[in-house]
């Protein structure tokens, strides 16, 4: 029976292994996030899905209201702003506690923000902390200091190198204390001084990177590195049972690409506001499987719907809404919000075959656009027609955006003539931008010296030179490809130019964007905070996200003036001027449509989903009623 032995061994192993692995118990709320969480260290995170979890397990000084996005107290109970708008003094509530029972102190915030301002931490959002007085200068100083380490440490042995690194660190800490405007005045008072008045500072403070970490938990994972002299952050502390947090939930389980489970934080001061006792986030990579998981009831909320499903599901939703249009309008007129109205409708008029009421499209705080390369010449040294604003405007006018959202994406996103989604920022009246007008487009091209002089259907300049072939760069993703094809076709037909599609793997394309190695390229931007600068900064000379390499001293001057302006209203006026300059006249980019986020949930079962464009969903506010 020797030949059967391997098989028997195999079966025994399998049975043993299966018995060892147990599934998670059911949670009050189960959902699929936009992707796997990258990091739960607030100072190092930069992905939407990470921030969503951060909002559930950490609490900042202040918070947003989920519906209005007004600032409400968080750990800070009250605060004052000095008349010059430069100094903020926060008074922390003494009921705020960490999940191990320790009080949350001003020192905790000072420590957490210092982590972000040390280049050693490599915090992705470090530049948001540069608003704080001395922040940028310290960051640069420490970077320069660390650069001298290698040379100084070269002749030294291991322990001596560490001694040198420690000496440098002590020097840096002393300098930080003297120069950076963050001071814990006592256990419950924190004073923050800014570089320039920043009217949206409180908005920033509610954002993920400003949330606190528990110092005694983090410190053991921070070590000086003998090779570089820098402080190295190791990440064991972000995983249960080590993680200590101060928000509505604590992390109970986190398994990579598998699941993340949160349970009520017994020490949270505002426990009454927390609706569900447990939240389970499961990681699903495949878009089909995610939709099936929703359809079969495994999850309550799907926070992103696969491309292949979108258009058809939205059409089914439209059928449902058309049938119930009168009643829906009536409910909304009675003052019900979208979700409440949908919940009533679900009771009164369940969807019929071929209809659905569980897909929801919400306007998001982002815009899909095309970048024009604004450099004097292309990277190859070739002539760049798009350095001329008249040509950029002409190309913008030749794109029929409603045709794209109706027939190409088939999602009916709001057509965009501007970068900043209208109405998304209180007190900001954005410009109108320029729309579809092919006749005007040809006129502008002719004004720039390009018209069809010999009747061959293609435009030439005065010397008879053909317009350079327009190369459109986009990532190798089906939806971007169809949009690129449609736009190329519109330009060819309306303007008499030749277009070439340049499809590249996502990461390769991203590198070429950063290197400005393109003529026209697909682009995308989501705002981070509630101020126009989160969009307008893109156009500043030298900004790390200025893929277009657009540089306009007049624009930079306006933005600098806005930075120095103390009066919030005057500041907004300056920003409106800057916005109008870029979107009515200069067009470094061509907005196509504002982004839409798709969710799947049963409106009768899931409560308190925020419909605000910023789409920061607070998991602790959501509730499943079955």
């Amino acid at each position: 029976m020797r030949s059967v032995a391997p098989i028997l061994m195999l079966i025994a192993l399998v049975v043993g292994a299966v018995l060892l692995d147990r599934p998670q118990p059911v949670a009050d709320l189960t959902f699929i996030n936009r992707g796997e969480v990258h990091s739960l260290d607030p100072q190092r995170m930069s992905w939407l899905q990470d921030f969503r979890i951060a909002d559930a397990i950490y609490e900042g000084l202040v918070d947003y209201d989920n519906d209005t996005f007004e600032i409400v107290p968080g750990v800070a109970q009250t605060w004052e702003v000095s008349p010059d708008g430069l100094t903020y003094t926060f008074h922390l509530r003494d009921t705020a506690k960490w999940s191990n029972g320790d009080p949350v102190t001003a020192e905790d915030f000072a420590y957490s923000w210092r982590r972000a301002l040390f280049p050693d931490t490599v915090a992705g959002y470090a530049d948001l902390f540069f608003k704080i007085k001395g922040g940028r200068a310290f960051f640069d100083w420490r970077t320069a200091q660390l650069e001298t380490f290698t040379a100084q440490a070269a002749p030294l042995s291991g322990p001596e190198r560490l001694k040198l690194a420690q000496a440098m660190l002590d020097e840096a800490l002393a300098r930080y204390e003297q120069t950076v405007g963050i001071k814990a005045l006592d256990a419950h008072t924190l004073a923050v001084t800014l570089e320039v008045p920043t009217p949206y500072m409180l908005d920033l403070l509610a954002f993920g990177p400003f949330k606190p970490v528990h110092r005694p938990t983090v410190e053991p994972y921070v070590k000086l590195d003998a090779a570089t002299g820098a402080l190295r952050q190791h990440h064991g502390w972000t995983k249960p049972p080590h993680l200590v947090s101060n928000g509505p939930y604590i992390l109970a389980v986190w398994r990579y690409m598998r699941d993340l489970r949160m349970e009520r934080n017994p020490y949270y001061w505002n426990a009454r506001a927390v609706k569900s006792d447990s939240v389970l986030c499961i990681a699903v990579e495949d878009a089909n499987t995610a939709v099936l998981a929703y359809e079969t009831g495994t999850i309550d909320w799907l926070s992103d719907v696969g491309v292949d499903y979108r258009a058809d599901m939205l059409a089914q939703k439209q059928k449902y809404m058309d049938r119930n249009a009168a009643r829906y309008d009536e409910l909304r007129a009675q003052g019900l919000g979208y979700n409440e109205a949908m919940a009533v409708l679900a009771e009164e008029s369940p969807p019929q075959p071929g209809e659905r009421n569980d897909i929801h499209a919400f306007a998001a705080y982002g815009t899909y656009f095309y970048n024009f390369n604004c450099q004097p010449t292309l990277n190859s040294g070739a002539f760049n027609p798009f350095k001329d604003a008249r040509i950029r405007r002409a190309f913008a006018r030749a794109v029929d955006k409603s045709a794209i959202v109706e027939r190409v994406t088939r999602m009916n996103q709001p057509v965009a003539n501007v970068l900043i989604p209208p109405g998304s920022i209180a007190g900001f009246e954005g410009a109108k931008g320029i729309g579809y007008d092919p006749a005007k487009a040809r006129e502008e091209l002719a004004g720039a010296g390009w018209e069809d002089r010999n009747g061959d259907g293609f435009i030439e300049d005065a010397s008879g030179q053909l317009f350079p072939t327009v190369e459109i760069l986009f990532p190798s993703v089906a939806e971007h490809k169809s949009i690129a094809q449609a736009i190329a076709h519109m330009w060819e037909r309306q303007l008499g130019v030749k277009c070439r599609l340049r499809e590249e793997e996502t990461k390769v394309q991203a590198t070429h964007l950063q290197e400005h190695d393109f003529m026209v390229a697909r682009g995308n931007w989501y705002g981070d905070y509630g101020d126009p600068t989160t969009f307008l900064d893109l156009h500043r000379t030298g900004n790390s996200n200025n893929d277009r390499n657009y540089s306009n001293p007049a624009f930079d001057e306006l933005m600098d003036r806005a930075d120095r302006e103390l009066d919030p209203e005057k500041r907004m006026l300056l920003l409106e001027q800057a916005d109008a300059m870029t979107i009515n006249e200069e067009l470094p980019l061509l907005p196509l449509f504002h982004q839409v986020t798709l969710y799947m949930y049963d409106p009768a079962e899931l409560r308190n989903v925020s419909t605000h464009p910023r789409l920061t969903q607070f998991l602790w506010e959501m509730e499943v009623v079955k």
């Binding site: 020797r2 030949s3 391997p6 195999l10 079966i11 192993l13 399998v14 292994a17 299966v18 692995d21 599934p23 998670q24 796997e36 969480v37 990258h38 990091s39 739960l40 260290d41 190092r44 930069s46 992905w47 280049p119 050693d120 490599v122 992705g124 470090a126 530049d127 960051f139 970077t143 820098a230 990440h235 972000t238 398994r255 990579y256 690409m257 598998r258 499961i282 990681a283 699903v284 990579e285 089909n288 499987t289 995610a290 099936l292 998981a293 359809e295 079969t296 495994t298 999850i299 990532p475 793997e505 990461k507 390769v508 394309q509 991203a510 590198t511 950063q514 995308n524 790390s544 996200n545």
Partner: protein, 317 residues
């Protein structure tokens, strides 16, 4: 035998070094920045430089040497590292080390692979024997058909079809759920089909051959029952080609189940491997390649040893 084992085991580090070098060269020259977030916001240039320097991503030679040092266990022997094999951090999923990632996912892939192998053997051997005993009968044709389907239909089609039937219609299993024995059945079945088909063909051919040989005729003449002849005498010989196929098949089912893992949302290593290449996550690519190659080399060795144990006539060089 022992000398052979020692010699073969000594070759392992050398093979792995070659694989490491080739993979490193290929992965390093993959275009794209591993720290980049294609849809996201780019940090300040100073922060970007600090990020690169932190992981030695600015110097290929430094990266090659320091990674080898950590991953091979040399750093541990020197006392510089607390982990024996430190495969480095994940670049995209910063809170995880490659060791944690492989530690969590590899057992899942191995369990799934083993269950699939058991299924493949069960289905393959049974249908192979039926086919051989009654060649040309309707049962033979039926098993042939199953084998044909198993080999020709891609697993994402079979997997999705099984999901719709058993999870959506009959609600026998949960979608995107992992942890109970029931969750294993569909993915293991999907994964096993191509192997089952191949094993069925191998068994059938071997059996037909053996059933016509002299010693079987002698056994029949002695009055041994037909069942005993097939299961006891013929299968033992016909199983040898299947056994030699099991080595590569085992390595393959445990490592190459990317599509199946994706469709059934199994938290195994295959998904991480493909994602790591898309993310250009150097540490994860290297870590998984090294783990896979170690497994592959050891499996082949194990099969060679087992082969000799089953059939002592075989001499191993």
């Amino acid at each position: 035998m022992t000398a052979m084992l020692v010699r073969r085991l000594l070759q392992v580090p050398l093979i792995l070094l070659v694989i490491y070098t080739v993979t490193f060269t290929l992965a390093w020259w993959l275009p794209g920045n591993p720290l980049d977030k294609p849809e996201g916001r780019r940090p300040d240039p100073a922060v970007q430089d600090a990020m690169k320097a932190q992981y030695n991503l600015d110097d290929p030679l430094k990266f090659y040497v320091s990674y080898l040092d950590q991953a091979s266990g040399v750093a541990w022997l020197r006392g510089d590292s607390r982990k024996v094999f430190n495969l480095g951090p994940c670049l995209q999923y910063e809170d995880w080390s490659v060791n944690e990632l492989i530690g969590g996912a590899l057992p899942v892939s191995i369990v799934l692979g083993m269950v699939a192998l058991v299924f493949a053997l069960a289905i393959g051997l049974v249908s192979g024997i039926i086919g051989a005993v009654r060649p040309g009968s309707w049962m033979d044709v039926a098993t042939l058909l199953v084998a044909l389907v198993g080999i020709s239909l891609p697993s994402f089609v079979i997997g999705t079809a099984l999901l719709i039937v058993f999870a959506v219609w009959f609600e026998f299993v949960h979608v995107a759920h992992w942890g109970s024995p029931r969750d294993l059945i569909l993915p293991a079945l999907t994964l096993s089909l191509p192997f089952a088909a191949y094993i069925a063909r191998l068994t059938r051919l071997g059996m037909i051959d053996v059933l016509q040989s002299d010693f079987i005729r002698t056994a029949r003449a002695k009055g041994v029952s037909e069942t005993r002849i097939v299961l006891r005498h013929a299968l033992k010989v016909a199983f040898l080609p299947v056994l030699s196929y099991l080595g590569p098949a085992a390595a393959y089912v445990m490592t190459g189940s990317f599509v199946v893992e994706k469709v059934f949302n199994v938290p195994g290593l295959g998904q991480h491997f493909v994602n790591s290449v898309l993310n250009k996550d150097l540490f994860v690519i290297m870590g998984i390649v090294l783990t896979y190659s170690t497994m592959l080399v050891l499996f082949n060795l194990a099969v060679d040893v087992m082969y000799r144990w089953v059939d002592p006539r075989i001499q191993l060089a």
